[in-house]
Every structure is written in C-alpha cells, then in structure tokens.
C-alpha cells in the first residue's frame, strides 16, 4: 500500500497500478493462474468502464501531500474554487505548507484555513487559478447495494464499492436515548428496566426499575436489541409513546428522548486483530454525525476525496477506512450542513484519535483464521487449528524441497 502511495507522489499522471490489483498467488493457496487472470481482467474492465465518469469528476479532486510521514490524502474542491475539503487527521501533523496537486498535475501550495473536529474535516486554501468545484448531490439517499467510486485527480479510480449500510449516526450525542438500562437476565417478552437515570426521559415520564417495556410507538418489543433498534429513526428531542407493564397492569407514557451518553465499548482483541487484516486503517474512524458505510477498499491515505455514483453525482466525502470490511462516507447533505457551521482555528484544533486497544496483539501474516466473536475458541481447538496449519506448511515445504531438489541437475 505504501508502495502505491509513493508512486502516486512521485509521478502523478503516469501509468499506475490499479487500486484493486490481484494479490500475489501465495495469498490464496489454491488460486490458479487462470483464476487470477479472470479476476484481474474483470477488475481492469470495471475500471475501464468507469473511466469517462471518473475522468469527468477528477477535475474537482486534488492530491494533498505533506512533508510529515504518512500524511497525504485526497481532497474535494469547494467554495470559491480555491478551497479544498479534506480529512483533518491526515494533514494535521504538517508543520509546513501543504502541497496540493490538481488534475492537470500542477502543484500548488496550500494552508489549513479551518477545522471541523467532530467530523475530522479541514478546509484548505490553495494558491493559483480557481478549480471546478464539487456539485454536492442531495437528491436522494443512495440505496443499499448502490455502486460507489472514489475518483483520483489523475482520472483513475482509487476505489470501488457498494453501499453496505444506509445513512446512520456514529455520534452518540446524536442518537436518541430513553435514559435506562435493560435487564440482560430477563427472559420474557419485552424489555425489563434494570437501572434508570434519575433525570432522563424515562424516569421523568414515570417509568421505574422492574417495569417491562412492551411497545415503543406501535412496535412490539421482543427484547433489548429491538428496544434499541426501535429508536434508530428517532432524534434526541423527539417524543415516543411507551407501553409498559408493572405488576401485571399495562399503561402508556410519553417519553422525551435525550442523547445517548458516551459508552466505552468493550474491546475485543481478536476482532481488533481482524480489523487490520488486509491493510492500514484510519486513525480517526468513529464519531461522525452521519455516515454511509461502504465495502470500498481504500487505504487511510486514499480518503478525503469526493465519492461519486454511476450517474456521476457527488454523493459524499470519503472520511475513513475503519477496518477490513468498512469505509465511511460523509453524505453530501452532512458535508453541506457541516460547512455552514463556524470552523475551528487550525492552531487550536485537535485530532480526535479513535481509541486503540493497547493490548492489540501483533497480526501474524498469512495464517488463516475463522472469523468469529469473543470468546476466543477453546484451547483445544486453537491447538488443533495450529497443528493443521503447521502440518500443511510442513507438507508444502517438503513438496517444495523435493521439487527443488529434483530440478537440480
């Protein structure tokens, strides 16, 4: 991945490797040359078909380079054509003026004008003649499965993916909250209240510990997960009608929803390890007001630029590579509303780095593992798995040695 970036930095506009090139044969033990060439040809076809679309969008995309190590990304031309919107954490470490390269290959100097810390965005001011600005499209929210492309300033695609999850908020402050904790041990229908926050909506409405919530609005609640899910289409400040049962009696109350308090999610070392299998992830990858989740495979240094759909609409800005399976896009509507807010001065703005698990184990390359959640498999199956992998390794090594031995005169 770093290799590709260094190529981009040196020779923009020259022939570059496709972002989705086929991995080396060793990656997939049974990959045949025929399979590899089928997949590679298909990738080339996709990127060829995207060509006209991406070249058209490219004039509003820039590459941003910095003298700081691992600090570079893409940006979207906005405002008066001399402004660029990009990912703040990927340019923040630069103490010198940034170097911006536009779609004609011209280098310009740029400085950071303002920062939106919560969305990890920065607005740069670039020198020289104004560039064509991104025309943000807020027509309709892209459907599940819709194709998305990240154009590069050189007229090629940095990534291709689909809408994996529709728009949602990753900022707890923007998520609706009843003000209670459910009882995990409760087995019956509905969700039983285990603890309740004294001043929050549920308590103010008269709900008490031990009450069982049966309905939110018209929706029957089967358990805690459905209770939480039922608030997805609600905002803090909304009111919901709650049907509950207390001592066999059913009653209804109206609850004023608040904001979800920040919760420290327990980190699962095994999952953390898998998140980074397949490449680097962004340092800031959570807390965004609104995101579209995509399976687009881009590196942290390929974020910051605009995203287009197959009709060429600019549907949002690429804001993070979150893990092996997820990248996040800030939807166009959220980009527009963010830019209307006052920006923070870059001299005082901070990078809100996503908390890392300090106990993250080293990723050992090339070892196949079944993806599953904690707890980790029992010691016996780990041992069995290890033995199998070692057996296979030994077998392959031996065959290799035998073959090599035989090739020698």
């Amino acid at each position: 991945m770093n290799h590709k970036h260094s190529i981009l930095f040196r020779g923009l506009g020259t022939c570059m490797a496709l972002a989705l090139s086929v991995s080396a044969q060793e990656d997939i033990p049974l990959l045949t040359a025929e399979e590899a060439s089928t997949v590679q040809a298909q990738t080339a076809e996709i990127f060829q078909s995207l060509g006209p679309l991406v070249r058209k969008a490219a004039s509003s995309v820039v590459f941003i380079g910095s003298a700081a190590p691992n600090q570079s990304c893409y940006g979207a031309v906005i405002g008066d054509g001399n402004q660029v919107l990009t990912k703040w954490s990927e340019v923040a470490a630069s103490r010198r003026p940034l170097r911006v390269i536009d779609s004609t290959g011209t280098a310009r100097t740029a400085k950071i004008e303002g920062v939106y810390e919560s969305e990890d965005l920065a607005v740069l001011r670039i020198e020289g003649a104004p560039l064509p600005v991104v025309n943000w499209s807020t027509k309709a929210e892209p459907a599940l499965g819709r194709f998305l492309v990240a154009p590069r300033p050189d007229g090629k695609a940095a990534g291709f993916g689909v809408v994996s999850v529709l728009e949602r908020s990753l900022s707890e402050a923007k998520q609706a909250y009843l003000g209670l904790m459910g009882d995990l041990d409760y087995q019956g229908a509905g969700a039983r209240i285990r603890t309740i926050e004294p001043d929050a909506g549920a308590a103010a409405a008269g709900l008490k510990v031990g009450d069982v919530i049966l309905k939110v609005g018209s929706r029957q609640i089967s358990g805690l997960m459905e209770l939480r899910n039922s608030l997805n289409d609600k905002q803090p400040g909304d009111r919901v009608e709650v049907l509950y049962s207390r001592g066999g009696e059913e009653a209804k109350v109206e609850v004023l929803l608040g904001s979800r308090p920040p919760t420290a999610m327990p980190t699962n070392p095994r999952l953390r390890q898998m998140e980074q299998m397949g490449g680097d992830i962004s340092r800031v990858r959570d807390g965004f007001s609104r995101v579209i989740q995509t399976d687009m495979q881009v590196g942290p240094q390929q974020c910051g630029g605009p995203i287009v759909d197959l009709e060429g609409n600019f549907i949002g800005l690429s804001v993070a590579r979150a893990d092996r399976t997820r990248s996040f896009i800030l939807p166009a509507s959220e980009v527009i509303s963010t830019l209307k807010r006052p920006a923070t001065d870059p001299s005082v703005a901070k990078v809100q780095v996503t908390k890392e698990n300090p106990m993250r184990p080293q990723v050992r390359r090339g070892q196949a593992r079944p993806p599953r959640m904690a707890p980790a498999p029992d010691a016996e199956s780990i041992e069995r798995m290890k033995r199998h992998v070692q057996d296979m390794q030994r077998l392959m090594d031996r065959m290799q040695r035998e073959m090599e031995g035989l090739e020698e005169p």
Partner: protein, 329 residues
C-alpha cells in the same frame, strides 16, 4: 471444467439468456445493469440475514433463514458448544433457536427457530457451478449484532474454487460474519461465510451444495467432522486412493501404490503407471496433483492421463473421500 457446470449452461442457452452470474462489465451501461441486480438482491435478502447469539458461549455469529418455518443455515463453528441460540433479525426482533446438526469438515450447521411463526426466508441456489469471476453478494452481522445498523452488504466475485466444498471471494469478512450468507445475483443462497486470510481477497465460504449432500443428517441433529483450515487434513478431502512415488524432473507422478477398493483401484489404475495429466492439465509433480485435487469434490469425475508401458492411457475416475478410503482398508 466440472461436469456439474454443464447442465446450467445448457439450460441458460435453451432459455435464450446468457449465464447470469458472469455478467460482463465492459461498459458503464453494463455496470449500471449489474448495480440494479445488486440493489435488488440486497433488499430481498436482508430481512432473512440473522445474528445467532449464544448465551452459553457469549459468541455471536450469523445465519440465513431458508424456509418459512425458520430453518437457518450457518457455519458449524457458530453452533459449536451451543444447544440453544438467540436468533436476532435485523430489526432487533429476537426469537429462540435450537441447534440441529453440524458437519465441521465442511463448516456447515443448521439451527431451527422454535417460536411459532412465518419468517422471511431466501431460497437456495447452487455452489458447485461457481467459477472465478461470478458476481456475489455477502451479508453478515459483522462484529456481532448492532442495533444501530443492518447487516452490512458486501459485493464481490468468486476469486478461487476449493478446497473441496469451499470457495474464496473478495467480499471482505470479519468476526461475527461467520455463518452469514452469500448469494448469487438472483438472490439465492450459494454458501455461508467461514474464514478469512490476511489478504482482502481471501474470504472463504462453505458452498450451499454441502448442505444438500448432508441434509438429512443435519436435520436429524448429527454433529460430525473436524474443523480444519488445511484442505489436506480435511477428512472430506477428495482422493484417488493412490500412493504417490517421487516425481522425476517434472515428468509426472509415478503411482507407487493403489488402495484396495479405492476409486483408483475401481477405475483400473495400476502400480507402475505414471500420472501425467488430470482433466487435460499437465501434472508435473505431486504438488500439482494435490492442488488440482483440492479444487475438486468427492463424487466429481476426473480424467487421468497415464503413461503405462510407454503408452498413453486415459482413465476416468470418480473421486472418493479420504475418510472412506481409510474405512475401506
């Protein structure tokens, strides 16, 4: 390549339509047509993609409902150690599930919803005809059930066939996706998510045809087989039933032994024969032979090119299973 691919191809020709899975992407219009299918599949299959949560083991995997009365296909390692599971639909609706059977060698398992009701479900397709380049859509409750989002959709294609009933795609998977479904462009289940390697292109799925072969045993609640990432250690690995001699300078594999009552013995393979090709592809070494067998399945017919007394002979062999070879000894 495999005999099984023949029938669907012929059917597609008779119906006057190209084989749908291999849609070409040579123009923007073709990409848009493909996108339309992926959108339709995503909307159709999402409601039937469930999370499977075990109270006892605390683990969370995925599965897919495949009958209206709530039969769920998943991976064997998702049901490992559990008798009962909570089945959670994307809406957060929670119902109870009972673990039926599992074949760990194929990493396939079944769960049945015990609550009465009619459930959203998706029909099964076929996995044996899959080839590199076939477009696929995978779902799963990545990182466990999350009430704040639906199970993420991932789009990709088959990258490699095998080992055995497994296949590899570039639909990226992570913990929690295990047992989650993968679909063809008609929105039929073609497999369940099983394992990953380091590469973004190394996401492995158990083929849905494995369920077909083991259906009655799984329904009956049998648990068998061994979880193995190593295709050569898998008891259900396809075999000829021969002992390989030392291969010489890339000129094929001498047959040093033939197991009694094995597929090779039944087909007339003899000690002293030299195996030089399999299905028309040259076999230069024992490694070539092992790798090409790993891409087949027990029951597949293969054409062996053999040199016997300086003459070329062709022998058709129906592959057997490694465990049955040893049982027959």
């Amino acid at each position: 390549m495999k005999t099984q691919t023949f029938i669907p191809v012929v059917m597609a020709l008779l119906m006057g339509s190209p084989l749908l899975a291999r849609e070409s992407v040579k123009s923007l219009e073709e990409l848009q047509a493909l996108q339309k299918k992926v959108e339709a599949v995503s909307a159709k299959v999402l409601p039937a993609t469930v999370a499977l949560v075990s109270d006892r083991t605390g683990s969370s995997g995925s599965g897919v409902v495949t009958t209206a009365d709530g039969l769920i296909l998943t991976a064997a390692h998702v049901v490992q150690g559990a008798d009962e599971l909570e089945v959670v639909f994307p809406s957060g609706k929670k119902v109870n599930g009972r673990v039926l059977g599992a074949n760990f060698s194929k990493d396939i398992g079944m769960v049945k919803i015990t609550d009465p009701g009619e459930w959203p479900f998706v029909a099964r397709g076929e996995s044996k005809p899959l080839e590199a380049g076939d477009w696929v859509v995978a779902l799963g409750h990545s990182a466990g059930y999350d009430p704040g989002r639906t199970p993420p959709v991932r789009f990709g294609r088959v990258v490699s066939e095998g080992p055995g009933n497994f296949f590899t795609t570039d639909c990226t998977l992570i913990g929690g996706d295990s047992g989650g479904p993968i679909f063809d462009l008609e929105g039929r289940i073609i497999g369940v998510n099983s394992s990953i390697g380091e590469s973004l292109k190394n996401n492995n799925h158990a083929g849905v045809d494995g369920f077909k072969d083991d259906w009655d045993r799984l329904i009956a609640g049998e648990m068998w087989g061994q979880l193995s990432m190593n295709p050569f250690a898998n008891p259900e690995m396809p075999v000829l039933g021969i002992n390989m001699g030392m291969d010489r300078r890339g000129k094929g594999v001498p047959i040093a032994g033939v197991f009694p009552r094995s597929p090779a013995a039944a087909a007339g393979v003899k000690v002293g024969d030299r195996l030089v090709s399999i299905d028309g592809s040259a076999v230069a070494s024992g490694r070539d032979l092992l790798l090409s067998l790993a891409k087949k399945q027990p029951g597949d017919k293969v054409k062996l090119g053999v040199t016997r007394d300086q003459e070329s002979v062709e022998i058709m062999v129906t592959l057997g299973r490694m465990d049955s070879i040893f049982e027959n000894r």
